[in-house]
Assembly symmetry: C2
Homo-oligomer: 509 residues x 2
């Protein structure tokens, strides 16, 4: 049984005294968890995955009540959460992520005798992880950040999102019990509640990194706090994105209706409350999609928004956009607040000319977190590529719809521009739906993230919480086990002696 708080229970914020205990336990757990063998850590992650799936019938209804998300969506998200944990378990057993590098000692190295060096990635220490509102499983208590933090060998201090506190505590109880049963050290996984506790924890000297998924405003505040500490720490924030899409005339000629319906489905899913929702679609003037879009939008049922802050933010953005000069409504959609204060919405799709976007850019270009998207009607003969630096900041994704065999200098240049402004560039399809795989990149230049050298989805996410250490001429008895001469199984990149001889020769000229 989980220990889900009753619906009417007051959920108290973490007190300073409780927080001090949390930080102390995390600091004590850090070396013990770091020293835990990879296969034992992997078993613990799998145990958490098993436990979450075993408790799905209890957890999903709690999430439905708290977030307004549909059962199918939450069941799928819980499955994804479990798969993420299993994927990280496989990642750490494989060991490639440790990037083990060995330089053999080389008395003839070009710069004089070279020592033996053995290099490996080691865990940073306790990490504060700020849960997201819009993925109450996959980016929350046991989500991708937690999975990669634990997989890396770091304790996690999970700051509960106040949008789904009951689900968070219920999930946390499942996670904690599974970790305890699998022998993980006490203090490896803890939750804290309240903004103040999160801010204090992020600034505590025992904390070595932060991760966050949420708004640009909150993310920037936290990133600045992390950078301003006496001892600065890395902060990995995923902040937001408008995910531009470019559609050519040839793509429309080949599949206009599929594009219109795919677009509306992508905008409407989870009421548009996804960081990969397509926010702007640049397409030729006169594309003729209005009818198909209006029809598809009309078929979308009302969907509850996650919480009152998001409802209020969406209402303000939507009002601003609808009130901007040159905005033409294709599907007006709706937004109403019910007697409980919950917002309910259907998709709002509008169009602007390129000139109107230029004139109204300060009103239009921000992210609208909810089921709203803007078509940008580009005059025939206008090159797409220059629009990217003109209108696009950093994004998580960017998409090109072109003909199956279409190409041009402009499109080649467009893809280059998109890859300079986004972490993932799609050909066809829609950016919502993020595969949890080794090659996924879920990140991108500011303001999509605070740190575009990292990803928060996929196995590469683990490297956020690791740093390299090289051991020089160190006997096996003092080395971490994976670096010992006797170690097997973990891939190593070896620099043999004798390879640099030609540099020495070059140097003697």
């Amino acid at each position: 049984m989980t220990t889900t708080p009753a619906p009417d229970a007051t959920i108290a914020e973490t007190t300073p005294e409780e927080l001090e205990q949390v930080l102390r336990r995390a600091a004590v757990a850090a070396p013990a968890w770091a020293a835990t063998q990879a296969d034992a850590r992997a078993r613990a992650l799998v145990a958490v995955a098993d436990a979450l799936q075993a408790h799905a019938d209890e957890l999903v209804p709690v999430g439905m009540v708290e977030t307004g998300l549909a059962e199918a969506r939450l069941r799928g998200e819980l499955l994804r959460t479990a798969v993420q944990l299993r994927l990280f378990a496989e990642t750490i057993v494989d060991g490639s992520y440790l990037d083990v590098r060995i330089d053999e000692a080389d008395p003839d190295f070009a710069l004089g005798a070279r020592p033996e060096l053995r290099r490996v990635l080691v865990p940073l220490g306790p990490v504060v992880n700020f849960a997201a509102s819009n993925f109450p499983f996959a980016f929350s208590v046991a989500g991708g950040d937690t999975a990669s933090i634990l997989a890396a060998g770091c304790p996690v201090i999970l700051k509960v999102h106040d949008g789904h506190p009951r689900l968070s505590l219920a999930t946390a109880a499942v996670v904690a019990a599974a970790l305890r049963a699998s022998g993980a050290p006490d203090g490896v996984f803890q939750t804290i509640i309240g903004q103040e506790a999160g801010v204090v924890a992020l600034q505590d000297e025992r904390v070595r990194a932060g991760s966050f998924t949420g708004s640009l405003r909150a993310g920037r505040i936290l990133a600045d706090l992390a950078a301003a500490r006496p001892v600065p720490i890395p902060f990995f924030g995923e902040l937001g994105s408008v995910n531009p899409v470019f559609v050519t005339q040839t793509a429309l000629d080949e599949s206009a209706t599929a594009i219109a319906t795919g677009f509306v489905t992508s905008v409407a899913g989870s009421a548009g409350q996804l960081c990969t929702k397509p926010g702007f679609v640049y397409l030729p003037d006169g594309a003729g999609l209005d009818g198909s879009i209006r029809e598809a939008a009309a078929a979308v049922p009302e969907h509850r928004l996650l919480n009152d802050r998001i409802s209020a933010g969406y209402e303000a953005r939507r009002d601003t956009i609808l009130g901007t000069d040159g905005v033409r409504v294709i599907a007006e959609g709706s937004l109403r607040i019910d007697e409980d204060g919950d917002g309910w919405a259907t998709p709002t799709i509008v169009a602007v000319s390129l000139d109107a976007l230029r004139a109204g850019r300060h009103a239009l270009l921000d992210e609208a977190f909810g089921p709203l998207s803007i078509l940008v009607e580009v005059p025939a003969g206008t090159a797409f590529a220059p629009l990217v630096p003109e209108f696009c900041e950093g994004n998580l994704t960017a998409t090109l719809h072109a003909g199956a065999d279409e190409t041009s200098d402009d499109l080649v240049e467009l893809v280059q521009q998109l890859s300079a402004h986004a972490g993932r560039v799609l050909f066809g399809g829609w950016p919502t739906g993020v595969a949890v795989t080794p090659a996924m990149q879920h990140g991108g230049p500011w303001p999509a993230t605070t740190n575009d050298s990292s990803t928060s989805v996929g196995t590469a996410a683990i490297t956020r919480f690791l740093r390299p250490v090289a051991f020089q001429n160190m006997p096996d008895r003092f080395l971490p086990e994976v670096l010992r001469s006797s170690a097997t199984g973990v891939p190593r990149t070896v620099a043999p002696a004798g390879e640099s001889t030609h540099w020495g020769e070059a140097a003697e000229r």
Copy 2:
């Protein structure tokens, strides 16, 4: 011929108008250099290495006059600089550094059909690189940062160190000519002069990263500026280190004299103006090294310090340490300022008891940049491991001297503690002398660096200036060449279809 400025020439600071031109050229060069094939970039790096070696006889004397460093040291450093460039040339031709990952499309993936994803690291864009004073070749104009920035495919804007401006401009002329002759785009390598220009450049929106080797104070100011930009950028600062060394009684029993002389040699080299100089040696009380140390120190000739700021800083630190209660002088050494204002020093070696270090920690624990080191005499029976968290902040290196077969729980724990506080942990030997190799880690927790997930020496340094981009279902014609189906030679990690089936089964329970 190089264009070394005359000794009495005034070297003007970069004006705002000149800086704007530099930034504009760098921004234009960025996509062109990023699109340059790896083998062409490699040839450009090799051309720079060849040119530097060909101009050694002109450059080294200029460096000797400006820095006071000895000819052999500077010739060795120029060779190292050339080897670094060659090593990065090999790194980019090999292509492993791109971390290419490919997920095959998988209709049966555990979470539903998975798209094809192709992931690669791409260059960040223009980087401002603040040169160091103490390595006028290897961490300056054409040093390791410049080599790794260029290798990554980024333009470099090199902020000249004011300690060796004539050498900097002469080196820059050699580098620029070699790059031009090898066909590199205009604007790939540029220099700027003056603190104000560096600060403005770091904050310019066209600049995408910063690198720095220098003092904690300056590095913190620049790191804070980089973090506070409207669009924050990564900043890789290598700031300083005291490089603790721990010596056991057994090590002394086996080789006391070699330890004493090795220690003095390491402290005295380049007048101790190395970021890896051993600053503290913890050893058993009554180790009996005084005589050997005094003798070795007395044999060290006076060495000029790099510049008047460093002389003044060293004088102040040395006075503070010599004036602290409980400090016992083993070799007093000397520091004098000559009629030209240059400082000249011989090694100063002092000892303190563990209790005196505790009492005087605020005066004693900072880095002394110059030929001064402190022995810490630890009472018999005191465990070493707990001293690390008590006295050591983040360091570039940490060293253990123990007996050839000696081990104990304390020593195992000590090495763990050292690896938690340093980027490189040595057994025996001395930390000065940094191999430029694949497994080198030259970095460490704050305040050793601003970013301990990176290294500034060795081939791994290239990843500082790259970020990942994933292409989803992208046809070959729009892909970067290394990701195309036809590409050969660059290693890829492939996730085949069908591997995740068991996760799906687990999920259905």
